[in-house]
Symmetry: none
Subunit: 305 residues, 2 copies
Amino acid sequence: MYSIKVASRKTGIEPVTIRAWERRYGVIEPKRTDAGFRLYTDEDVADLKWLKHQVEEEGLSISQAAKQLKQRKQEQFPAFKQNNGIRTVNNNDSIPPLSELAEKLHDAIDSFDVERADQLLETGFSMYPFDELFHHVLTPLMHRIGDEWEEGTISVAQEHFASHLFRQRLYQFFKVFSMNPNLPNALALCPPGENHEIGLLLFSLFLKRKGVGVIYLGANTPTHGLEKIIVENDIRIVFFSMTRSENAEALRELILLLKEQFPGLKIVLGGQGVPSDDEVLQHFYLKDQPADWETWFGQLSVLKN
Amino acid sequence: MYSIKVASRKTGIEPVTIRAWERRYGVIEPKRTDAGFRLYTDEDVADLKWLKHQVEEEGLSISQAAKQLKQRKQEQFPAFKQNNGIRTVNNNDSIPPLSELAEKLHDAIDSFDVERADQLLETGFSMYPFDELFHHVLTPLMHRIGDEWEEGTISVAQEHFASHLFRQRLYQFFKVFSMNPNLPNALALCPPGENHEIGLLLFSLFLKRKGVGVIYLGANTPTHGLEKIIVENDIRIVFFSMTRSENAEALRELILLLKEQFPGLKIVLGGQGVPSDDEVLQHFYLKDQPADWETWFGQLSVLKN
DNA sequence: AAATAGTTGTACAAACCTTATACAAAGATT
DNA sequence: AATCTTTGTATAAGGTTTGTACAACTATTT
C-alpha cells in the first residue's frame, strides 16, 4: 500500500492531479487510513499508469479514458452473477446418458472449452460410479483422441488439453483412497519421450484403490536417479507406460538394469506401444483391461514384511 | 543480545527513533533486563533493517511498513485460529506458521509423501489467503527446488513430483474465477524441452482472476499446430514460460513466426531462462513480479470486438 | 561520586495529507 | 468572436505523521 506521494512518484502524475481525477471522475478510489489518508495498491498504480498512457500517448481526454477504465472495471466484476446461492436450473441441457457423454466431451475438447468439459465431467461423476466413467467414457475417449492425433485430425495441443483435464479429475481421486501400510509401494512413470499418461493414471488409481501407496511421477520422467528413489522409498513395484514403440530399446535396457539391481522388484509395463515381438518387454507386459489388472493384483505376493 | 545503542549502530537508526517506532506502532518489542533495559536479538536487528529499507528505498511510510511487518509476524504465529467464534486450541500438532510451511512441504516432497504434502497444502489454503501462499510459499519453494535440482542435491523426479502437486492445487482455482466474454482469450504453454510450469500456472491464474479466458496447455507442448488453435479460438494473448536458456533460439524463431502471421497477437514471455542479451526475446519479456503483471494488464488494450 | 547510558513522557517543527475554492489555458460549442 | 466546458495546477486552512529534542528519573560502570 502506497501513500499518494509514492503513487505519484511511481506513476509520474502529480498528487494534485490524482486527487482531481478521483474527485471529478470517480476513477481509482483507494482505501483510506483511519485518518483519511489515501492508500494505493499495485493495481491502482497500474490503473493510473494506464490512464496516463491513454492521455499522453493515445490522445484521449482524461474524461474519456476514465470512462473507459470504469467500464472495464465493471465488466471485470459483473455485479452479481446469478449463481449466488441460487441454483441455476439448466433445463434445456439435460443430463446426458453415458453414451452421449463421450461425444459431448469430445466436442468440448475439440473447441477447448474448459468450462463445458468440466461441467460435463462434474455431472458425469455425480451420476455414475467413477470406474464406470473411467472405463466406458474416459478410456475410450482418450484412445479415440490418440487415434485422431495419429491421423492428424486433431492437434497435439488438443491431446495435451484432454490429458490435462482428465489427469486433473483422476488425481482428485488419489486423495480419497487411504494407504494400507502392509502393502508395497509402487512407482508410476512414463519414460522420457512419453507424454501420454492417461493409462498410467488409470493404473495408478487402480493400485491406490487397492491400498497401494503410489508415487506418481507422470509423463516424460528422466530415469536418471531412479535407483535412489527406489531404495529410499522402499519401492516394490515399478509401473511404466509406453505408447510409442520408438522407446522400446531404451526401456528394455532400463528394465534389465533395474532387474539386475533389484531382483525382488516387480516391474509392470502397459500401453499400446509395446512391440509384440520383443520377448523381454512382453514378459512384463500387462494388458489394459481392468479384469487383467485384478488377476495380476491377486497373484501379487510381494506383501510388505 | 544487544543494547539499544548497539542495535542503533548496527541498523543506522537513532535510538530515539527506534523507541518511537516501538511506542507508536508496537513493532519490535524486545526483551528487557530486570531493570527494564531493552535487549535486541539478531532477528530484531534484521527486522529494523527491513523497516529502514522499506522506508528509505521502497518509499513506504513507517506506519505502513510497520503494519506489514506486524502482519507477517502474526502469520508466523497464528497460535489460535478462531473459526466459528470458538477458539480451537491445537496443542499437539499446531498449525504450521507460514515460514515453516515451506520447510515442511520441502520435507514432504523430499520423501515423496503425497498425503502429508497434500494435507499441508490443505491446511495452508484454509488458513491464509491463496495469493499469499503462492507468493510466499509455493514460488520460493519452487525456486529452491529448481536450484537444488541444478546443484544435483535433489532428483529430477522430485522436481517433477513437486510441480505435479502444485499444478494440481493451482488448477483447482482456475474453476473458481468466471470468464468475462469481453476480454480476450489467452493461450499458456511451455515450449518443448520446458518442464517447469509453475510460473506459467501462476500467470495463468492471474489472468483468469482478471476474467481472461485461458487455454492452458502446460509443459512441454509441441508448437506444431499452434496457428490453428490461435485462429479457431480467437486467441489474442500467447504466454510462454522459459526456464532454460537452451531453448532461446527455437523460441525466438517461433515468436517471430507468430508475430508475422498474427500481427495483432500479444506475446508475453516469462521465466528465468530468458537471456538478457537477446533483444528479440527481451522485447516480450515480463518480469515475475505481480506489480509488473498489473502494469502490463493495465496497458493491455486488445479488448474484444 | 562522576560519567555514561538507559527509561518514559511530553513537546515541537517539518513534512505530508485532507478538502474546498479558485484560476488560467486549451478546446468545444454556440 | 463570444461563451461554456474541461483540465491541470495553485492556494488556503486545518489535521496527521514522524523524527528529534528535552526533562526528569534510574541503572551501570569506572
